[in-house]
């Protein structure tokens, strides 16, 4: 009963002090979703999922950021940096890898309405930091390289992504991309994939 009374009192108080709705204070107006992007430079950030650069299985997750400059209506170029993390285990190893993926990108793009569709080719390298721990090694009191090894490698890499960008409001865009990727590990060409979902800013 007491609780009910308190709830009623709070609701009444809220209504009593609620500001009157005025046209100037509306959250949504006619131009809320107007596209205000006039520049050619676009920054974006995204969440990333990808096949790990140097592991045969699993899915690496991470973050991605990029800058793209549109030149004309068909071409764009830019640069991207991605960080991905994965931790996987086998019978004998617990492996953690962190990928730093650096790309120079070039795109063929087509704008339509609020959006644009692009085919983006990225060339660069995957810098992979690997930390391996021998499974059960700590319980067996292993130490040194018998317990843990670390390595860093740079793998030539490329990816081809379809990029969909949609102007949502003002300078803000929603961007989704994905496609196949390749890298060269120990002289062998390895296939993979990558996908991103993020937000862009194009003033």
């Amino acid at each position: 009963m007491l609780v009910r009374s308190i709830v009623i009192a709070l609701v009444a108080l809220a209504f009593t002090h609620a500001p009157a709705a005025h046209g100037d204070d509306r959250l949504l107006s006619d131009d809320t979703f107007a596209v205000k992007s006039t520049g050619t430079l676009r920054l974006d950030g995204a969440m990333l999922v990808a096949m790990p650069s140097a592991l045969p299985s699993g899915m690496a997750t991470g973050l991605s950021a990029g800058i793209t400059r549109e030149c004309g209506c068909l071409l764009a170029y830019g640069a991207r940096v991605q960080w991905a993390y994965i931790s996987e285990s086998s019978t004998f190893w617990n492996v953690t890898q962190q990928d730093l993926r650096l790309r120079a990108t070039g795109s063929l793009r087509h704008a339509f309405g609020r959006g644009s569709l692009a085919l983006q080719l990225g060339l660069g390298t995957n810098i992979v930091y690997e930390d391996r721990t021998r499974a059960q090694g700590m319980a067996a009191m292993l130490s040194g390289s018998a317990l843990e090894t670390r390595a860093v490698a740079a793998l030539p890499a490329a990816d081809l992504e379809a990029v969909v960008a949609l102007h949502v409001a003002g300078p803000w865009l929603m961007i989704a991309s994905g496609g196949p990727s390749v890298d060269i590990l120990s002289g062998n060409l390895r296939g993979g994939w990558t996908a991103e979902l993020g937000v862009g800013w194009q003033p």
Binding site: L102, A139, A153, A154, L155, P156, L185
Partner: protein, 347 residues
């Protein structure tokens, strides 16, 4: 240098992923002493983890009669002997030079005794002739009569043994031994292959040695509610695997065959069976009629038929028949069977 290499955007570095050589968790050195009387076809050394096992009461009480003594002599294993549960590494040996045995996995939870904060496992290195050349030491079980291989009362595993054991570093607690120890957390002395009078096993893998204790000391200690003291504490060893090789003396197979005999029941409990209508195959077996054993000096009114294994069995064991009762208790309130004595019933 590695970071510079990485920054050079070239394919370099040495990522291993799940590949590459796997370092062993520990390595033991095993030396065989002596030579078998006949050449071995495929001599191998196996690392065998032991189980916690208690013999059944009938095997440690005085026999009721001469026939019972014969059955117990043929059907009871050494109550202080090492009882295997799981075979880990199997490595070929030339019987002459020291053999290196790499261990790649920890003992599984079922061979460790204790809780998560303090548990220990013990193992024995077993020398055997891998006569079927499958690379593995097979563990056999007693050949009891009328045992189903599936369902209630079943016992799994082969009753015949192709491999022939020629020695072990840890055969019985009543003889000097060298054993593999693996300890996690603290160490609490227990009746699991006890070594009272010796130091605690060091954490992780180790080599442990002890002089053993006499059966008389074991009985006295049990009556006193304590653990039997090792006969000669000066023989106690607690060492790291790299510091202490393990010696396996060659012995006649008949002396050490039980090292490859596992058990289905570890808690001294007996599985009783309903006598079949037809005469069981008593070939090469001895049998006797005895009262149910008790430790309080009273004589049970229940008579059971005990049957030994065959003389040529790989592992010894006893089959228990009662006319009325349940699988785990002949005195259960609601018997699973209650039958009239069959025509062959000797009791």
């Amino acid at each position: 240098m590695k970071y510079l290499c990485a920054l050079a955007l070239a394919g370099c570095g040495n990522l291993q992923g799940f590949g590459g050589p796997v370092p062993p968790l520990t390595t033991y050195t095993v030396q065989i002493t002596g030579q078998p009387s006949a050449p071995l076809a495929h001599p191998q050394i196996a690392l065998v983890w032991g189980m916690q096992w208690l013999t059944e009461a009938l095997c440690i009480l005085p026999p009721e009669n001469q026939q019972a003594a014969a059955v117990l002599s043929a059907g009871c294993r050494d109550p202080f002997g090492f009882v295997p549960l799981r075979v880990d590494a199997n490595v070929p040996t030339d019987l002459v030079s020291p053999t290196t045995v790499d261990v790649y996995t920890l003992p599984t939870a079922d061979v460790m005794v204790g809780d998560l904060t303090a548990r220990v496992a013990y193992a024995s290195f077993v020398l055997y002739d891998d006569r079927n050349d499958d690379g593995l030491l097979a563990l056999a079980r007693p050949n009891r009569l009328g045992v189903p291989t599936a369902g209630p009362g079943s016992e799994t595993g082969p009753t015949d043994q192709t491999d022939l054991v020629y020695g072990a570093s840890f055969v019985t607690m009543t003889a000097p031994d060298q054993r593999v120890g693996y300890r996690e957390g603290a160490f609490i002395q227990s009746a699991f292959y006890p070594r009272a009078g010796c130091g605690d096993p060091p954490p992780a893998f180790s080599v442990l040695a002890a002089s053993g204790f006499s059966p008389f000391a074991a009985v006295q200690a049990t009556l006193a509610g304590t653990l039997p003291q090792e006969d000669d504490p000066s023989q106690c060893v607690q060492a790291a695997p790299a510091d202490q090789p393990i010696t396996v003396p060659v012995q006649p197979p008949a002396n050490v065959k039980e090292v490859a005999c596992t058990e289905n029941n570890a808690d001294s409990s007996v599985r009783y069976r309903e006598p079949p209508a037809d005469t069981p195959d008593f070939t090469n077996r001895v049998y006797a009629c005895v009262h149910l054993p008790s430790f309080d000096g009273t004589t049970s009114s229940v008579i059971e038929l005990i049957v030994s294994g065959r003389t040529d069995d790989a592992c010894v064991g006893i089959t228990h028949y009662v006319l009325s009762g349940c699988r785990e208790d002949p005195n259960c309130g609601t018997p699973d069977w209650d039958v009239a004595p069959p025509s062959w019933w000797p009791c």
